[in-house]
Protein backbone atom coordinates (compact mmCIF):
# COMPACT_ATOMS: atom_id res chain seq x y z
CA UNK A 1 0.00 0.00 0.00
CA UNK A 2 1.51 3.30 -1.03
CA UNK A 3 1.68 6.15 1.40
CA UNK A 4 -0.45 8.28 -0.86
CA UNK A 5 -3.14 5.64 -1.11
CA UNK A 6 -3.03 5.21 2.63
CA UNK A 7 -3.66 8.85 3.15
CA UNK A 8 -6.61 8.88 0.81
CA UNK A 9 -8.09 5.84 2.49
CA UNK A 10 -7.75 7.47 5.88
CA UNK A 11 -10.11 10.21 4.79
CA UNK A 12 -12.86 7.78 3.95
CA UNK A 13 -15.68 6.75 6.21
CA UNK A 14 -15.22 3.39 7.91
CA UNK A 15 -17.56 1.41 5.62
CA UNK A 16 -15.90 2.74 2.53
CA UNK A 17 -12.47 1.90 3.89
CA UNK A 18 -13.61 -1.60 4.53
CA UNK A 19 -15.02 -1.98 1.04
CA UNK A 20 -11.81 -0.72 -0.55
CA UNK A 21 -9.77 -3.12 1.55
CA UNK A 22 -11.96 -6.04 0.70
CA UNK A 23 -11.82 -5.22 -3.01
CA UNK A 24 -8.07 -4.77 -3.07
CA UNK A 25 -7.53 -8.00 -1.19
CA UNK A 26 -9.69 -9.79 -3.73
CA UNK A 27 -7.70 -8.30 -6.59
CA UNK A 28 -4.53 -9.53 -4.95
CA UNK A 29 -5.72 -13.10 -5.03
CA UNK A 30 -5.84 -13.31 -8.82
CA UNK A 31 -3.28 -13.27 -11.59
CA UNK A 32 -5.20 -10.95 -13.85
CA UNK A 33 -7.42 -7.97 -13.17
CA UNK A 34 -9.54 -6.10 -15.67
CA UNK A 35 -12.12 -3.40 -16.10
CA UNK A 36 -15.45 -4.32 -17.68
CA UNK A 37 -18.03 -1.92 -19.05
CA UNK A 38 -21.53 -2.63 -17.82
CA UNK A 39 -23.48 -0.08 -19.85
CA UNK A 40 -26.95 -1.18 -20.80
CA UNK A 41 -27.00 -4.34 -18.72
CA UNK A 42 -30.11 -4.63 -16.57
CA UNK A 43 -29.27 -5.55 -12.99
CA UNK A 44 -31.10 -8.90 -13.23
CA UNK A 45 -29.00 -9.85 -16.23
CA UNK A 46 -25.87 -8.70 -14.44
CA UNK A 47 -26.64 -11.14 -11.64
CA UNK A 48 -26.93 -13.96 -14.19
CA UNK A 49 -23.64 -12.97 -15.77
CA UNK A 50 -21.90 -12.91 -12.44
CA UNK A 51 -23.19 -16.40 -11.78
CA UNK A 52 -22.11 -17.65 -15.22
CA UNK A 53 -18.61 -16.46 -14.51
CA UNK A 54 -18.38 -18.42 -11.30
CA UNK A 55 -15.25 -20.54 -11.39
CA UNK A 56 -13.74 -18.51 -14.22
CA UNK A 57 -13.66 -14.98 -12.92
CA UNK A 58 -14.97 -12.80 -10.13
CA UNK A 59 -16.96 -9.69 -10.99
CA UNK A 60 -17.39 -6.87 -8.48
CA UNK A 61 -19.26 -3.62 -8.89
CA UNK A 62 -18.79 -0.66 -6.61
CA UNK A 63 -18.65 3.09 -6.80
CA UNK A 64 -15.99 4.21 -9.23
CA UNK A 65 -14.11 6.18 -6.62
CA UNK A 66 -13.86 3.09 -4.45
CA UNK A 67 -12.85 0.93 -7.39
CA UNK A 68 -10.10 3.37 -8.19
CA UNK A 69 -8.86 3.31 -4.60
CA UNK A 70 -8.89 -0.46 -4.59
CA UNK A 71 -6.96 -0.63 -7.87
CA UNK A 72 -4.37 1.78 -6.53
CA UNK A 73 -3.98 -0.16 -3.33
CA UNK A 74 -3.60 -3.44 -5.20
CA UNK A 75 -0.96 -1.91 -7.49
CA UNK A 76 -3.07 -1.74 -10.64
CA UNK A 77 -2.51 1.94 -11.35
CA UNK A 78 -2.44 1.19 -15.09
CA UNK A 79 -6.14 0.42 -14.97
CA UNK A 80 -7.28 3.55 -13.18
CA UNK A 81 -7.79 5.51 -16.41
CA UNK A 82 -10.20 2.88 -17.65
CA UNK A 83 -12.60 3.36 -14.73
CA UNK A 84 -15.10 5.60 -16.47
CA UNK A 85 -18.86 5.35 -16.77
CA UNK A 86 -20.65 2.26 -15.59
CA UNK A 87 -17.87 -0.25 -14.97
CA UNK A 88 -16.93 -3.13 -12.72
CA UNK A 89 -13.79 -4.94 -11.71
CA UNK A 90 -13.10 -8.43 -12.93
CA UNK A 91 -10.43 -10.73 -11.52
CA UNK A 92 -9.38 -14.09 -12.88
CA UNK A 93 -6.65 -16.70 -12.98
CA UNK A 94 -7.70 -17.46 -16.51
CA UNK A 95 -5.79 -16.54 -19.59
CA UNK A 96 -6.92 -12.96 -20.42
CA UNK A 97 -7.29 -13.87 -24.10
CA UNK A 98 -9.61 -16.69 -23.17
CA UNK A 99 -11.53 -14.39 -20.82
CA UNK A 100 -11.98 -11.81 -23.57
CA UNK A 101 -13.20 -14.48 -25.97
CA UNK A 102 -15.66 -15.77 -23.43
CA UNK A 103 -17.04 -12.34 -22.64
CA UNK A 104 -17.37 -11.37 -26.31
CA UNK A 105 -19.19 -14.61 -27.04
CA UNK A 106 -21.68 -13.92 -24.29
CA UNK A 107 -22.71 -10.53 -25.64
CA UNK A 108 -26.25 -10.31 -26.96
CA UNK A 109 -27.84 -7.86 -29.39
CA UNK A 110 -30.14 -5.21 -28.00
CA UNK A 111 -32.27 -2.41 -29.40
CA UNK A 112 -31.06 1.18 -29.23
CA UNK A 113 -33.25 4.01 -28.00
CA UNK A 114 -33.74 7.62 -28.94
CA UNK A 115 -31.02 9.80 -27.46
CA UNK A 116 -28.48 7.02 -27.08
CA UNK A 117 -25.08 7.27 -28.70
CA UNK A 118 -24.41 4.68 -31.38
CA UNK A 119 -21.57 2.39 -30.25
CA UNK A 120 -20.88 1.49 -33.88
CA UNK A 121 -22.13 2.40 -37.35
CA UNK A 122 -25.81 1.55 -37.75
CA UNK A 123 -26.60 -0.13 -41.03
CA UNK A 124 -29.93 -0.96 -42.63
CA UNK A 125 -29.16 -4.08 -44.64
CA UNK A 126 -30.10 -4.53 -48.29
CA UNK A 127 -33.20 -6.64 -48.86
CA UNK A 128 -36.93 -6.98 -48.56
CA UNK A 129 -38.20 -5.29 -45.39
CA UNK A 130 -41.35 -7.39 -45.48
CA UNK A 131 -43.33 -4.19 -44.90
CA UNK A 132 -46.25 -3.48 -47.23
CA UNK A 133 -46.09 -0.34 -49.36
CA UNK A 134 -47.03 2.71 -47.36
CA UNK A 135 -45.60 5.70 -45.55
CA UNK A 136 -42.82 3.58 -44.08
CA UNK A 137 -40.88 3.92 -47.32
CA UNK A 138 -40.76 7.65 -46.69
CA UNK A 139 -39.56 7.11 -43.13
CA UNK A 140 -36.74 4.91 -44.44
CA UNK A 141 -35.76 7.49 -47.01
CA UNK A 142 -36.01 10.16 -44.32
CA UNK A 143 -33.29 8.57 -42.22
CA UNK A 144 -31.06 8.09 -45.25
CA UNK A 145 -31.77 4.55 -46.41
CA UNK A 146 -31.98 3.85 -50.14
CA UNK A 147 -35.49 2.35 -50.14
CA UNK A 148 -38.22 1.96 -52.74
CA UNK A 149 -41.35 -0.03 -53.42
CA UNK A 150 -40.79 -3.09 -55.54
CA UNK A 151 -42.61 -6.40 -56.06
CA UNK A 152 -45.38 -5.35 -53.69
CA UNK A 153 -43.23 -4.51 -50.69
CA UNK A 154 -40.69 -2.05 -49.42
CA UNK A 155 -37.15 -2.94 -50.44
CA UNK A 156 -33.83 -1.56 -49.26
CA UNK A 157 -31.71 -1.41 -52.39
CA UNK A 158 -28.27 -1.52 -50.76
CA UNK A 159 -26.67 -1.68 -47.34
CA UNK A 160 -27.29 1.82 -46.02
CA UNK A 161 -25.33 3.33 -43.15
CA UNK A 162 -27.85 5.57 -41.45
CA UNK A 163 -25.84 6.66 -38.42
CA UNK A 164 -22.16 6.71 -37.66
CA UNK A 165 -20.58 5.56 -34.45
CA UNK A 166 -20.63 8.25 -31.78
CA UNK A 167 -23.69 10.04 -33.14
CA UNK A 168 -26.94 10.32 -31.29
CA UNK A 169 -29.97 8.24 -32.26
CA UNK A 170 -32.94 10.35 -33.35
CA UNK A 171 -36.55 9.54 -32.60
CA UNK A 172 -37.21 8.75 -36.28
CA UNK A 173 -34.27 6.37 -36.48
CA UNK A 174 -35.25 4.61 -33.28
CA UNK A 175 -38.73 4.08 -34.73
CA UNK A 176 -37.45 2.65 -37.99
CA UNK A 177 -35.00 0.34 -36.24
CA UNK A 178 -37.76 -0.83 -33.93
CA UNK A 179 -40.08 -1.45 -36.89
CA UNK A 180 -37.42 -3.49 -38.67
CA UNK A 181 -36.39 -5.35 -35.52
CA UNK A 182 -32.78 -4.21 -35.89
CA UNK A 183 -30.82 -4.46 -32.65
CA UNK A 184 -27.59 -2.57 -33.31
CA UNK A 185 -26.12 -2.76 -29.84
CA UNK A 186 -24.06 -5.57 -28.41
CA UNK A 187 -24.83 -5.76 -24.74
CA UNK A 188 -22.70 -7.63 -22.28
CA UNK A 189 -19.60 -7.43 -20.19
CA UNK A 190 -17.28 -5.26 -22.23
CA UNK A 191 -13.69 -5.97 -21.29
CA UNK A 192 -11.89 -2.64 -21.62
CA UNK A 193 -8.46 -3.50 -20.28
CA UNK A 194 -6.67 -6.25 -18.40
CA UNK A 195 -3.42 -6.38 -16.53
CA UNK A 196 -2.07 -9.92 -16.52
CA UNK A 197 1.11 -10.57 -14.58
CA UNK A 198 2.13 -6.98 -14.94
CA UNK A 199 1.32 -6.55 -18.63
CA UNK A 200 -1.51 -4.28 -19.78
CA UNK A 201 -3.69 -5.60 -22.60
CA UNK A 202 -6.37 -3.60 -24.33
CA UNK A 203 -9.19 -5.10 -26.40
CA UNK A 204 -7.18 -4.79 -29.59
CA UNK A 205 -4.47 -6.99 -28.09
CA UNK A 206 -6.96 -9.43 -26.74
CA UNK A 207 -9.05 -9.85 -29.87
CA UNK A 208 -7.24 -12.84 -31.33
CA UNK A 209 -8.01 -13.98 -34.84
CA UNK A 210 -8.63 -17.70 -34.38
CA UNK A 211 -8.78 -18.26 -38.12
CA UNK A 212 -5.32 -16.82 -38.53
CA UNK A 213 -4.02 -19.23 -35.93
CA UNK A 214 -5.78 -22.09 -37.65
CA UNK A 215 -4.17 -21.15 -40.90
CA UNK A 216 -0.80 -20.88 -39.14
CA UNK A 217 -1.24 -24.43 -37.90
CA UNK A 218 -1.85 -25.56 -41.48
CA UNK A 219 1.13 -23.59 -42.71
CA UNK A 220 3.37 -25.00 -40.00
CA UNK A 221 2.26 -28.52 -40.86
CA UNK A 222 2.80 -27.95 -44.57
CA UNK A 223 6.24 -26.51 -43.97
CA UNK A 224 7.22 -29.47 -41.83
CA UNK A 225 5.99 -31.84 -44.53
CA UNK A 226 7.86 -29.98 -47.20
CA UNK A 227 11.04 -30.07 -45.18
CA UNK A 228 10.72 -33.76 -44.33
CA UNK A 229 10.00 -34.74 -47.91
CA UNK A 230 12.64 -32.49 -49.43
CA UNK A 231 15.22 -33.65 -46.89
CA UNK A 232 14.05 -37.21 -47.50
CA UNK A 233 13.41 -37.77 -43.82
CA UNK A 234 11.02 -40.67 -43.53
CA UNK A 235 8.18 -40.50 -41.04
CA UNK A 236 4.83 -42.20 -41.07
CA UNK A 237 3.42 -39.02 -42.60
CA UNK A 238 6.02 -38.47 -45.27
CA UNK A 239 6.90 -41.98 -46.34
CA UNK A 240 3.93 -42.37 -48.69
CA UNK A 241 4.93 -39.13 -50.38
CA UNK A 242 8.56 -40.18 -50.56
CA UNK A 243 7.61 -43.52 -52.07
CA UNK A 244 5.36 -41.83 -54.58
CA UNK A 245 8.06 -39.34 -55.39
CA UNK A 246 10.66 -42.05 -55.91
CA UNK A 247 8.21 -43.95 -58.08
CA UNK A 248 7.51 -40.84 -60.08
CA UNK A 249 11.19 -40.20 -60.56
CA UNK A 250 11.82 -43.74 -61.74
CA UNK A 251 8.92 -43.45 -64.12
CA UNK A 252 10.08 -40.12 -65.44
CA UNK A 253 13.53 -41.51 -66.07
CA UNK A 254 12.10 -44.68 -67.57
CA UNK A 255 9.94 -42.79 -70.01
CA UNK A 256 12.57 -40.30 -71.03
CA UNK A 257 15.16 -42.98 -71.59
CA UNK A 258 12.55 -45.29 -73.16
CA UNK A 259 13.63 -48.08 -70.86
CA UNK A 260 12.15 -51.41 -71.90
CA UNK A 261 10.37 -52.26 -68.66
CA UNK A 262 7.08 -54.09 -68.55
CA UNK A 263 5.59 -51.54 -66.19
CA UNK A 264 6.60 -48.67 -68.42
CA UNK A 265 5.47 -50.12 -71.72
CA UNK A 266 1.86 -48.94 -71.66
CA UNK A 267 3.00 -45.41 -70.96
CA UNK A 268 5.76 -45.60 -73.54
CA UNK A 269 3.26 -46.73 -76.15
CA UNK A 270 0.99 -43.91 -75.11
CA UNK A 271 3.85 -41.48 -75.31
CA UNK A 272 4.72 -42.63 -78.82
CA UNK A 273 1.12 -42.21 -79.83
CA UNK A 274 0.98 -38.72 -78.34
CA UNK A 275 4.13 -37.76 -80.20
CA UNK A 276 2.74 -39.09 -83.43
CA UNK A 277 -0.43 -37.07 -82.98
CA UNK A 278 1.57 -33.97 -82.12
CA UNK A 279 3.60 -34.40 -85.27
CA UNK A 280 0.51 -35.11 -87.34
CA UNK A 281 -0.99 -31.87 -86.06
CA UNK A 282 1.83 -30.04 -87.86
CA UNK A 283 0.99 -31.66 -91.16
CA UNK A 284 -1.32 -29.65 -93.38
CA UNK A 285 -1.71 -32.15 -96.19
CA UNK A 286 -4.58 -34.55 -95.56
CA UNK A 287 -3.02 -36.93 -98.04
CA UNK A 288 0.03 -37.30 -95.84
CA UNK A 289 -1.98 -38.04 -92.71
CA UNK A 290 -2.88 -41.51 -91.46
CA UNK A 291 -6.48 -42.37 -92.19
CA UNK A 292 -7.28 -42.38 -88.48
CA UNK A 293 -6.27 -38.76 -88.20
CA UNK A 294 -7.88 -37.40 -91.36
CA UNK A 295 -10.87 -35.16 -90.82
Amino acid sequence: MSAQAERKTENLPQWKQEEVEELSELLGEYESVGIVGLTGIPSKQLQDMRRDLYGTAELRVSRNTLQIRALEEAGYDDLVDHVEGHVGLIATNDNPFALYKELEASKTPAPINEGEVAPNDIVIPEGDTGVDPGPFVGELQGIGANARIEDGSIQVMEDSTVLEAGEEVSADLANVLNELGIEPKEVGLDLRAVVAEGVLFDPEDLDIDVEAYESDVGTAAARARNLAVNAEYPTETTVPTLVAKATGEAKSLGLQAAIEDEELMPDLVTKADAQLRALAAQIDDEEALPEELQD
Binding site: V199, I208, A222, R223, A224, N226
Partner: protein, 69 residues
Protein backbone atom coordinates in the same frame (compact mmCIF):
# COMPACT_ATOMS: atom_id res chain seq x y z
CA UNK B 1 6.08 -19.86 -36.27
CA UNK B 2 8.08 -21.41 -33.44
CA UNK B 3 5.17 -21.10 -31.03
CA UNK B 4 2.92 -22.97 -33.42
CA UNK B 5 5.53 -25.67 -34.02
CA UNK B 6 5.81 -26.12 -30.26
CA UNK B 7 2.04 -26.58 -30.05
CA UNK B 8 2.20 -29.16 -32.83
CA UNK B 9 4.83 -31.18 -30.97
CA UNK B 10 2.65 -31.20 -27.88
CA UNK B 11 -0.30 -32.20 -30.03
CA UNK B 12 1.63 -35.20 -31.33
CA UNK B 13 3.07 -36.21 -28.00
CA UNK B 14 -0.40 -36.05 -26.50
CA UNK B 15 0.58 -33.52 -23.87
CA UNK B 16 -1.79 -30.68 -23.04
CA UNK B 17 -1.21 -27.46 -24.96
CA UNK B 18 -1.00 -25.11 -22.01
CA UNK B 19 1.23 -22.22 -21.03
CA UNK B 20 3.62 -24.27 -18.95
CA UNK B 21 4.19 -26.95 -21.53
CA UNK B 22 4.62 -24.51 -24.40
CA UNK B 23 7.05 -22.44 -22.38
CA UNK B 24 9.06 -25.55 -21.49
CA UNK B 25 9.38 -26.61 -25.12
CA UNK B 26 10.32 -23.16 -26.33
CA UNK B 27 12.75 -22.64 -23.47
CA UNK B 28 14.44 -25.92 -24.33
CA UNK B 29 14.86 -24.66 -27.89
CA UNK B 30 16.51 -21.49 -26.71
CA UNK B 31 13.59 -19.29 -27.64
CA UNK B 32 13.23 -16.06 -25.67
CA UNK B 33 9.63 -16.79 -24.71
CA UNK B 34 7.05 -14.00 -24.68
CA UNK B 35 4.42 -14.88 -22.18
CA UNK B 36 1.65 -12.98 -23.90
CA UNK B 37 2.21 -14.83 -27.18
CA UNK B 38 2.01 -18.12 -25.33
CA UNK B 39 -1.21 -17.02 -23.67
CA UNK B 40 -2.75 -15.88 -26.95
CA UNK B 41 -1.78 -19.12 -28.66
CA UNK B 42 -3.29 -21.26 -25.93
CA UNK B 43 -6.53 -19.28 -26.06
CA UNK B 44 -6.68 -19.38 -29.86
CA UNK B 45 -5.96 -23.08 -30.18
CA UNK B 46 -8.78 -23.87 -27.82
CA UNK B 47 -11.07 -23.27 -30.79
CA UNK B 48 -8.93 -24.95 -33.44
CA UNK B 49 -9.19 -28.59 -34.45
CA UNK B 50 -5.47 -29.09 -34.85
CA UNK B 51 -5.61 -32.55 -36.39
CA UNK B 52 -8.04 -31.33 -38.98
CA UNK B 53 -5.99 -28.25 -39.80
CA UNK B 54 -2.91 -30.42 -40.16
CA UNK B 55 -4.55 -32.97 -42.39
CA UNK B 56 -6.10 -30.28 -44.54
CA UNK B 57 -2.67 -28.83 -45.07
CA UNK B 58 -1.48 -32.25 -46.17
CA UNK B 59 -4.23 -32.49 -48.74
CA UNK B 60 -3.16 -29.30 -50.47
CA UNK B 61 0.58 -29.13 -50.02
CA UNK B 62 1.30 -26.94 -52.97
CA UNK B 63 -1.07 -24.23 -51.90
CA UNK B 64 0.00 -24.42 -48.30
CA UNK B 65 3.61 -24.14 -49.19
CA UNK B 66 2.83 -21.13 -51.27
CA UNK B 67 1.24 -19.44 -48.31
CA UNK B 68 4.22 -20.34 -46.24
CA UNK B 69 6.59 -18.77 -48.70
Amino acid sequence: MEYVYAALILNESGEEINEDNLTDVLDAAGVDVEESRVKALVAALEDVDIDEAVSEAAAAPAAAAGAAG
